[in-house]
């Protein structure tokens, strides 16, 4: 009887004696019972044992029982790769902020523990892809990548042999940079409009991002949280002579205007 076989491989067991017997094989998640003719080679068909692990074997006849064991190891050919990429969404221009972990499996779903080379590639539209190679340890390989400076969706691919898995990583604009607003009179109100708000890499900040306008006059003030629409934030607030108007988004401050009209 072989000491070990690859998952799903056929194998044979030489038996002694004569007459009828029964072969029992028990292991992780599998149990086989097979009537056999003693004194000849017992064939176990391809695909019979496929879960990797340690199996116990019993060959019993009317007069005796012989025992043994066999190890089923994962097949050498990768058939599937499970790829976990995190995060699925992150700001642009972050160093080593994207991690990818790949787990290589054979066609029966056994984790292939033999070291294998896994290549990782992160492709962004309009720039050269980043490529890394890592060797699996106990079936897993991982890497880190930088996010691009341009916003957009990146394809993150893990490949081993001719098997690959793809994940999408959303690269979104970072914090606003240099928020600038302009003010003009609109009747008895002031119309405030920002320039298109961009991050420090030049990407347009996402619509819906909150921009806070604050007008301070004497001991009073007016505040409005306005979401960006089509890249700009716009609002009308009451006009107060001598008021100071400021703009901010999150923890980023923009310019200040003193309303003299």
């Amino acid at each position: 009887m072989p000491k070990s076989i690859e998952a799903g491989s056929p194998f044979s067991i030489q038996s002694g004696g004569s007459g009828k017997g029964t072969l029992y094989i028990a292991g992780p998640g599998q149990f086989i019972k097979q009537d056999v003719q003693l004194g000849s080679s017992i064939e176990v068909a391809s695909g019979s044992l496929y879960n990797a692990g340690h199996y116990s074997v019993w060959l019993s006849s009317d007069s005796s029982t012989k025992t043994g064991s066999i190890d089923v190891v994962p097949a050498q050919k990768p058939a599937d790769i499970t790829f976990i990429a995190k995060p699925s969404r992150l700001p642009v221009a972050m160093h080593n902020a994207i991690t990818g972990s790949a787990y290589v499996f054979d066609s029966y779903g056994n984790l292939i523990t033999k070291p294998m080379q896994v290549s990782f590639q992160l492709s962004n539209a309009g720039s050269a892809p980043q490529t890394r190679t890592a060797e699996t340890h106990n079936g897993a390989a991982w890497t880190q990548m930088d996010s691009a400076t341009r916003e957009g969706k990146a394809q993150f691919v893990a490949r081993v042999g001719d098997v690959s898995s793809t994940r999408i990583v959303g690269q979104v604009p970072g914090d606003p940079c240099n928020i600038k607003m302009n003010a003009k009179a609109a009747g008895n109100k002031i119309q405030l409009v920002t320039d298109p708000v961009r991050d420090c890499s030049g990407n347009a900040i996402s619509d819906g991002t909150i921009v806070t306008f604050t007008e301070t006059y004497g001991a009073e003030k007016t505040t409005v949280d306005v979401p960006l629409k089509k890249g700009v934030a716009s609002v009308e607030i009451p006009a107060h002579r001598g008021a100071t108007i400021s703009v901010a988004s999150g923890v980023v401050l923009g310019n200040q205007i003193r309303w003299a009209q």
Binding site: I84, S206, T209, G250, V251
Partner: protein, 377 residues
Amino acid sequence: MSSGGARLLAVVLAGATVGLVAIGTLWPSKTAAAFASGAQFTTSAGTPEAAVRSLGEQIRAKAYGRAYESLANKGEFSEQQFRRDLTSGWPDLRTYADLSEFQAQPLHATDTDATVRFKMVWSTVVGPSASTKDLHLVKNGGKWQIEWPIQKEPVVPPQVIPVNYLRWDVINRSSADDWGAQDVEAPHVRIVDMHPVQRAEGLVLLGELLNEDVVPAYVSVTATLLSKDQKPIDTEGSFDDISHQLLPKQVTPFVIRFPNVTISQVGSVRMTPFSTLISASADPVIEIQNEKLTPAPDASLTGQLTNQSGQIANVAHVLGTFYDQQGQVVWVGDQYVDHALLPGTPVAFNIHIPEDLARKVSSQRTVVATYSFGGAQ
């Protein structure tokens, strides 16, 4: 049961029924009395204060018809307008509130007219809500009558308000996906400020939370107090002392209360911000006008909310963050506004600031969370 026992039970039940009917007739509940025509209310109007108390009883019993009939200036408005002044014309917190208590405080009186301060405390689904009216009374034929200072419901002119609002919807992974398949990333949030304050009722943690992502987030904050030997003392959450929905780059204050804990017991604090994706809309936009800090005594932050969008906000929750001269958070206060925010119609708010902390307050920042029927918006 024997026939004698059954007869006895029938007699007892009949007697109890007659007794209960008699009790209900002789001493009816206030609400029941409101629907009857009897004179069970305190109808005395011999003094201005008594007239206001009588009105309070009628409002508490929701006997709006009788309350309306007792007014001196009822010719200026209809009973329906009076009722809407008390219970709101649009669905909001007041619509589902009861007048739980009231006070009548005489301010001024002559032989023919008087002024009484009428303080009402309404029980709403988010807690008590107080409102005060100074009522002018006139004496008509030996009886004091109230001139109700009606605030007529604002009328939004019929119009079409174009809204090109932003909205985010979320599709999460399904159970059929491979375990390695990505789910949509939870929003990235960050605590940008945290400060403990010792109060008489216990330890209070104040802070601010920023949504630094590009998607809306549903947020909350939990804190665990650890003793000096790193053993947990207590874990509490921010509950409703926070604006739960944060749009991208929006900041909310939060308060976490630890009753009966003193700061001397605490070695460290473990803060756990929670965030998850939420379908949300960027509207309505609420302008906070005329924000003003009134110093102690009776320190408060007052202002007005104006809905700049077309959608009615049924409930508004105003959160004020108060800072000292160094920019450190010294207090967070809040108020639920019990009237719906109609487009372009200002509604006042007033957030109380504890007197001992009011002296430290140098600046403030206000945020508003609104809820429309059908969920948070």
